[in-house]
Symmetry: C2
């Protein structure tokens, strides 16, 4: 998966540098969502000597490329999740942080209806679903 990220960056015409390769590998081995601080901590733990700015710069690049998406957690923090570049939404497990992608599911009808009622010209939307993944439901049922 790190490979895919790097290929996509290559396609985008940016240089494939050491720090970028290393960060791509760190992202690839993460499961679920992570924050910029998580990634920075990973890098520091391995003494990769990667600066804070570089982490933010890469995340921005990946987000531009839709290889990673920014998710606003219910507690207000910003996290990222690696994902397919097509438009979709995320299900975030509030227990373990696991992420699942869902594609359209009919939200277009909802936005069209909202546009009709309000007169707004809708350009984009963001739908985030929070709950518990199947695994966490089994571990601690009906909490």
């Amino acid at each position: 998966m790190a490979r895919e990220l790097l290929e996509a960056l290559d396609q985008a015409g940016v240089r494939l540098t050491g720090p970028r390769r290393e960060l791509a590998a760190l992202i690839a081995r993460r499961t679920g969502h992570f924050t910029a601080a998580d990634l920075l901590a990973d890098a520091e733990q391995r003494s990769l000597g990667i600066g804070r700015a570089t982490v933010f710069r890469l995340l921005e690049l990946l987000a531009d490329q839709n290889l990673v998406e920014r998710v606003d957690l219910p507690d207000g923090r910003h996290a990222y999740v690696p994902c397919e570049p097509s438009h979709h939404h995320h299900l975030v497990c509030v227990s373990c942080g696991a992420i699942s992608e869902v594609d359209d599911c009919g939200i277009d009808a909802v936005t069209a209806e909202a546009a009709r009622r309000s007169g707004f010209e809708i350009q984009s939307h963001r739908l985030e679903l929070f709950g518990r993944c199947p695994r966490c439901q089994n571990v601690e049922p009906r909490q």
Copy 2:
């Protein structure tokens, strides 16, 4: 509208203090969304001598009471919008910041479908729609 905020705070069993009254009035005279910094600036401009912490504390209180909702702007900033305490979603005008509330519009069907497909047990969701309000469409058509 400041009155409504204060009444609701009273209901919630907190004290109706000077700073809270003043901030409620500032919120009431705002249109569209605003950030904590905006409110703080308003207060400073009027030399109300209200501390940063007080502003954040009140916003948290109001959010707990669902009198104000936190919105994550596309650029990643956090904003607040005063609103009805019932569940609903917001349309945010990216030109002028105007806010419009939309109620359900069939999103429950979407979340149910997503839950079915993923096996998640969905607890909450957040839908934000960004676009241009009717007024801004007229000012600068088809931008």
